[in-house]
Symmetry: C2
Subunit: 428 residues, 2 copies
């Protein structure tokens, strides 16, 4: 009989040393001196980051596999033949990224494995840590590409053909080959026994509620629409209001409408206009055209569909009234993901054992865990983001919270390895 | 006793030949093959355009003066010593300009003078045609610079020090010298007896009303404000609506508010948001900052001030509610200009004599005539703009309408030269 442990202590210092060392690769400095990182997927800096994490995996003696989309899994050596309890995340960043988004989940996984191995304990099944290719999608859309392919959501051949948005003509496949990460392991990959991802919240909820842990119940459904409006450009002084076909008026009206709909429905409904481009974009010219984006999210797909319909109806109504033509393109559409209730309950229980009452919450952002959820029982642990800031060198989390998150990752992985998640019937 | 005439016939063919020849200088082609011109003020192309018009003036035997801001006046030789009846406009264009904006008023003036001279008639006082420097202000803000200096609204030394917005460090003075148009005539210039400017409407009103002539009563007051908003950038998925400080929401709300205020007040109130810039301008990021412009115009300065105040109040209220900081900068503020009622009535009467009922209307755009109105009785004649389009190679007016406008310019100048405008007590 294997000895079951759940009191492994992780080392915050070792975790932070790795975080700092990885952040040095592609290091950038934000406007107020914050130290961030820029390691866009499959660039030279991404390769250097990968090489460093691979070195750490090798130093721990892990069995390493690299698959045909460049996902890297390091697994504790095991003769059990049992599927591992896996954790992981990503080490690519956006162009102006922080130190923790993604990196935390990977380096905390390494720390958990090192703590377990150096304690010399035997587990019922091995642990593994993965970093998935191109989670950010900033250079090669869509985001979460590596985990999508790992979980069988896209054929690896199609993924390899994706072309970089930077106009260089580089493809995922050519860049994987160039940086030496076109691996031999097949996609989709083998299903883990369970999967858990530690990640920064990237939002303000934990901080504003004064809590230190989020037990993540799933990922909001996401609907991204690009709207292109064509009106009639004219002189802002000589064109009476009644004769205007002004695409910016439609943008303004829809921005106000989105706020009013989202407020009326209430949390977790969110709606955002983040991008606007006018042409010719001059103070005294009614724009000829406008493009803007609509980002709406909800945990309930039925609600999401309802909002999409209301927004589309209003857009077409106001544009027709204004004499502005509309074309829309769905840039992304993800259904909500619901995590495994037993794994979520395991996170809740682990937090409570450490004296912390977690916020049971959905994720507003997409994560690799939502892809792994197609294959195995999955959940996530959130640790607070100071000021809710992410995708920015100013992204930050206190060392105490990072350490707590890593400790809970250890606790939960040990519970999952011992199948203690089956004891949880749901969230208390 | 001088023989008084008012039945001089202008030559549409000769007018159009000059329009076509001038448009060849700096010729550009619009997206749908429209032929426009690009002659930014004081560039080599502007010099070539000036040289061509000067050649025509010399060919007609006009007395030519070039002043210290590069304004050029060609006057019929006269021993009378009387101030001339002057017409004119500008021959500089915006970067992507049309063939008629400004050029029409200058070339029609040449045509009127040539018609009068070749008819061999004597007038009570001479006619003159002027082209004023840098009316567009596209390279050297502010617009209407040459006529402003001519009328004494800005010291010529200050105007000569204005630096190009193109970042070359060129000044009005250095460029005038370089292209050979730093003239000897002093600024301000001599006051004409009266001034009339023929110009395309640059708006849709005449076309939509099915009329061919506008008798312009003045120029709307203009208020340009740049608004800079700073919010808190955050993840569009993870930030609940209630925790947002979203500058784009403020932009959208204000765009809708401006429309609602302008519609409520009714014509001639106009209000436009023509320029918006978001940062970082990404689909899934609540913007950190937004800048946008507000252009409001009215013929009545009291109304204009009221609207400015209402807009500012609403902006500060909604921004405070949203937790967004506001700073505003007045980019331009021109009080409304009211033209001379007798000259307007002279235009109305001339149009009626030619069987056309004019639209008595304000100009929504600024024109050189508004500067000359400080010095002498002034008005303008508008000719229709097809589709209301200007500042674009697609800018167009039918040859018949151009010819009618030129003919009315002749009729009105002859009336003004004979002081028949004093017979008009106002607009019928």
């Amino acid at each position: 009989m294997v000895h079951v442990v759940n009191d492994i202590q992780i080392s915050p210092d070792r975790l932070m040393r790795r975080v700092d060392e990885l952040a040095e690769i592609g290091a950038i400095t934000g406007p107020r001196g914050h130290a961030g990182s820029s390691r866009l997927a499959l660039t030279d800096d991404d390769r250097l980051g990968r090489d460093l994490v691979m070195t750490w995996m090798r130093d721990l003696g892990l069995d390493i596999t690299v698959d045909a989309i460049g996902n890297v899994v390091g697994q504790m050596p095991s003769d059990s033949g049992l599927a591992p309890v896996m954790c992981g995340s990503h080490i690519d960043t956006v162009g102006t990224g922080g130190r923790f988004d993604g990196n935390l989940g990977v380096l905390a996984g390494l720390e958990v494995i090192e703590s377990v191995m150096s304690a010399g304990v035997q587990l019922p099944r091995p642990l593994a840590v993965a970093f998935f290719t191109d989670e950010e999608g900033a250079r090669f859309p869509p985001d979460m590409l590596g985990s999508l392919v790992y979980a069988g959501g896209m054929a690896v051949e199609a993924a390899q053909r994706i072309v970089a948005v930077d106009g260089t003509g580089a493809t995922v496949g050519s860049e994987l080959e160039r940086i030496g990460y076109l691996g031999a392991a097949p996609c989709p990959g083998p299903a883990p026994h369970a999967f858990v991802e530690l990640h920064i919240e990237q939002g303000p909820v934990l901080e504003q509620m004064g809590r230190r842990v989020g037990a993540v119940t799933g990922v909001q459904g996401i609907s991204w629409t690009a709207v292109e409006l064509r009106g009639v450009s004219n002189h802002a002084g000589t064109t009476p209001m009644s004769m205007r076909c002004d695409p910016m008026f439609v943008v303004g009206h829809m921005t106000a409408f989105l706020r009013s709909v989202a407020t009326e429905i209430g949390a977790p409904q969110v709606a955002t206009v983040g991008r606007v481009e006018l042409h010719p974009n001059l103070i005294n010219v009614i724009p000829a055209s406008a493009t803007f984006t609509i980002d709406v999210r909800h945990t309930d797909d039925k609600m999401l569909r309802e909002v999409e319909q209301r927004v589309d109806d209003e857009l077409r109504r106001v544009a027709a009234d204004e004499g502005v033509s509309v074309s829309t393109e769905t840039l992304a559409r993800f259904e909500p993901v619901v995590f495994d209730e037993r794994v979520v309950a395991t996170v809740v229980a682990a937090a409570r054992r450490r004296g912390e009452e977690p916020v049971v919450m959905p994720s507003g952002a997409g994560h690799d865990a939502q892809m792994l959820a197609r294959m195995c029982p999955t959940a996530m642990i959130f640790t607070p983001s100071i000021g809710g800031i992410s995708h920015n060198p100013a992204e930050d989390t206190s060392v105490a919270d990072l350490a707590l998150g890593c400790q809970l990752l250890a606790d939960v992985m040990l519970d999952l390895a011992a199948d203690r998640h089956f004891e949880h019937e749901g969230i208390a």
